[in-house]
């Protein structure tokens, strides 16, 4: 029971942390940040790996396989998309306009 309580306290603190992290974010980063947090819950992959690793019956293995594949999609897709979006912000604010450079 002690461990359950410890986990509940972790819940509580994590919730405050999440709230604090995002409460002062400029609007321009809302989409990348949503994408980034989408990546972070891709940690579900490790849980899926444990679930599949412990599975014994055929049905459990099938569902576990499904879970790992979905979790991997969440983690990898979330990373690729966020990374691409944030790469757009590479140029530092305040930098000069490139003169005459068309695209």
């Amino acid at each position: 029971m002690n461990e359950t309580w410890a986990a509940l306290y972790i819940f509580l603190l994590a919730a405050f942390t999440g709230y604090e992290i995002i409460s002062r974010v400029p609007v321009i980063l809302h989409t990348p940040l949503m994408s980034g947090s989408n990546f972070v819950h891709g940690i579900v992959l490790v849980g899926a790996m444990v679930a599949l690793g412990r599975a014994t019956t055929g049905l459990e293995i099938a569902i576990g396989f499904f879970a790992v594949a979905l979790g991997a999609m969440n983690a990898v897709g979330g990373y690729v998309v966020t990374e691409r979006m944030l790469a757009m912000f590479q140029k530092k604010p305040g930098s000069e306009t490139k003169s005459g450079g068309g695209h």
Partner: protein
């Protein structure tokens, strides 16, 4: 290695991952450090995943590696080739996969039967429900934004049916959580109903409200992952999941506020479409040459880009036009509505991709007091966010939404493909104002014409 050493290493890796996730998200909340942030979080993920192979008592490694290769490969391939304009639906689909994974973990645990106490069982069922809803709901959201499902559907007595489905799912969930025996048919029925509820919840929602829903499902998946982390005793999952659940909830509220769409209303009534008073008058067209003259002889121009510009891939041309006008000594600014594009910040990403300087980009609060000093407001593919009925017509569904007050500018030029209404289905009073001229054409071609004409002047 003994089992206890392996377990210790796994725990250390999860601890490191949790730290890197929180620091990474913190860095992602500032433009200067954002790019490093995702790399930190990525390292955390990689470490946690690799060390999980050491987790004592696991088997089925072949299946595991095959599943990671398939899922990861598919996501890598699709994530690399998708266009920037399509990012919102990609976030939706990857997020839905995470929700599905959490629900599937719960399914495995529930089918194994209860060696868990009542708190853990309740969280397992709750996580399963939320995860499954996020899974099916996100898939519908993806289909809608991708244009594969264009209509909004609603059954007769839609709300009643969806609440009924949810209620039955909750009752079955309580039964599963309370029982010590494994009731496979009931567990299957529970998951099917949860998936059905996700579909029912999402189909009546129109495109304009999708960002809020995607953000909500992102928070849902976070919670589901956190709850299943509780079931598995996995602290990395608890921390990452709950941090995302909390931040996602706040982000959803911020978005809903920016769009003036209360979340409670979205969930019970679906989208509001049409309505509001009819608008008298006619739209006045303008040719490229006259529009170019207005621009070239202005001293202050504000460009308002909308999703239409992004779809037409006109952002590079718009930036070219901007540079041309700036060479003539004209002050040019970009006005970005909080929900321009498909999500808050989406337009900034698209403009950054085209190379537009940050300092030219102004948000709603910064630019609105300036509009009465603006000579020409150039609207490209934006509609609802510049519709003055949001200020003037209390019967309009968008009444009260913060808008860019472009109607205060001396002249307004609207580049638009046709005469249709906006995303919300509301007629735009701006198009009928005496100082507004409509320049009909697709974004890229229309801006190109302006560039040619400005060069001739």
């Amino acid at each position: 290695m003994s089992e206890s050493v392996r377990m210790f290493l796994v725990q250390v890796s999860y601890f490191v991952a949790a730290i890197l996730f929180i620091l990474g998200l913190k860095r992602m909340s500032s433009p200067l450090t954002a790019q490093g942030g995702i790399v930190w979080a990525g390292i955390g993920m990689l470490v946690a995943t690799l060390f999980t192979f050491l987790y004592p008592g696991l088997g089925n490694f072949t299946w595991m590696i095959v599943a990671i290769a398939i899922g990861g490969g598919l996501a890598w391939w699709s994530g690399k080739r998708v266009a920037m304009t399509d990012m919102p639906q990609m976030i939706a689909i990857y997020n839905g996969m995470g929700g599905g994974a959490a629900a599937a973990i719960a399914a495995v645990e529930l089918l194994k039967g209860g060696h868990h106490g009542p708190v853990v069982m309740t969280l397992a069922v709750l996580g399963a429900l939320i995860g499954a809803v996020s899974f099916s709901g996100s898939i519908i959201a993806f289909l809608k934004l991708q244009g594969l499902m264009n209509k909004t559907y609603a059954l007769p007595a839609h709300n009643l049916i969806s609440w009924g489905v949810l209620a039955v799912a909750v009752i079955l969930g309580v039964a599963i959580a309370m029982s010590n025996a494994v009731m496979t048919p009931i567990i299957i029925a529970f998951f099917l109903l949860a998936l059905l509820y996700g579909v029912l919840m999402t189909v009546p929602i129109g495109g304009a409200d999708m960002p809020v829903i995607i953000s909500l499902y992102n928070a849902f998946t976070g919670l589901a992952v956190g709850f299943e982390g509780f079931v598995l005793g996995n602290y990395a999952m608890i921390i990452a999941g709950i941090v995302v659940g909390a931040s996602g909830t706040l982000l959803t509220q911020l978005m809903a506020k920016a769009m003036n769409r209360p979340i409670s209303k979205l969930l019970t009534a679906g989208s509001v479409q049409g309505g509001g008073q009819a608008i008298e008058g006619e739209q006045k067209a303008i040719e490229a040459q006259d529009a170019a003259i207005q621009l070239a002889y202005a001293s202050k121009v504000v460009i308002v880009p909308g999703y239409g510009m992004a779809v037409a891939q006109a952002q590079h041309k718009v930036w070219e036009l901007t540079k041309l006008l700036k060479e003539k000594g004209i002050e040019v600014k970009f006005a970005i509505h909080p929900v321009a594009g498909r999500m808050p910040g989406h337009m900034n990403v698209l403009l950054a991709e085209a190379g537009v300087d940050y300092e030219l980009i102004q948000d709603l609060e910064e630019i609105n007091p300036e509009f009465n000093t603006v000579d020409v407001a150039l609207i490209i593919g934006a509609n609802d966010v510049v519709n003055p009925v949001a200020r003037t017509d209390p019967s309009s569904p968008i009444y009260g939404m913060p808008i860019l007050n472009v109607d205060y500018a001396k002249n307004v030029i609207v580049i638009k493909r046709g005469k249709g209404a906006g995303f919300s289905g509301v007629e735009n009073a701006l198009f009928y104002l005496p100082n507004t001229r409509m320049f009909y054409g697709s974004g890229q071609e229309a801006v190109n014409q302006l560039i040619q004409q400005v060069k001739l002047l």
